[in-house]
Symmetry: C2
Subunit: 126 residues, 2 copies
DNA sequence: ATAAATCGCTTACAAATGTAATCAAAAAGG
DNA sequence: CCTTTTTGATTACATTTGTAAGCGATTTAT
């Protein structure tokens, strides 16, 4: 059985950087994050890195004085876990109402609708 | 601007009961919850009721000695908020990958697929 | 009427989370 | 070489969350 760590909201941002960019130094991660949102404080990011290591969501190897961090947790699995969790909490685990909600609420472009329909067709007639 | 309260995971369960059943006494809520999961402790539920009142997610009126609680927060709005939040955190706000994930990962029954397709068609040709 | 159950109110307390600051060692710049 | 910067480690601290227990008033059952 896989041990999918529980990743908090803010920690997700850090994980996303690592999943996207692969092995990174703390500095790289901080750069990537402040890029998107200047409010990220370097010290805060360091704290999260430490916590993620403790949770075994990531690991590092020394590279000179600094560390090179890399994900341990698998992105797809974390996504699945978070998704199931959300689905359960908000929609009692029922997929259809959830999809309906998104399709209704967020305006989908015609192309998005086409693409989704293609997806459904693939699933529909295997 | 609406003030949509921040509802925690466990508090969601309480809210769902209130949204589903309308005005309820604490006792009713506790019953409903323990029905689904015997692990709910009455005192714990009371705590959440108090916190939800403090957050103005619910309110109550006296009914004899007990209280009759009812939702203040609108379900649809809370659902939207939680959904946007989840979408942003896990899928960077991109709807298509999210929908794809669910359609791919969770097996949809043929009827669910048909229904979803209908939904998309309604959206597709207004 | 007296004891038991129930109510809401108040208080408790650890873990998780967000948000950093301090500190010591090491590296880099001048 | 000495100063500034950088880095990881350690420590701090308020807030939120999960999970209740205690207390005093009030019903309710006996």
């Amino acid at each position: 059985m896989k041990n999918i760590p529980k990743i908090s909201e803010a920690e997700w941002e850090v994980m996303k950087v690592l999943w996207a960019k692969g092995p990174c130094s703390a500095r790289d991660i901080i750069l990537a994050l402040t890029q998107g949102d200047p409010d990220w404080h370097p010290k805060t990011v360091k704290t999260f890195l430490g916590r993620l290591v403790a949770k075994k969501a990531i690991a590092f190897e020394r590279e000179g004085r600094a560390y090179l961090y890399h994900p341990l947790a698998n992105r797809a699995e974390c996504v699945s876990k978070a998704s199931e969790n959300f689905l359960k909490r908000v929609f009692d685990g029922a997929l259809r109402p959830m999809l309906a909600h998104f399709v209704e609420n967020r305006k989908l472009s015609a192309s998005e609708i086409r693409e989704l329909r293609r997806l459904l067709e693939q699933k529909g007639e295997p």
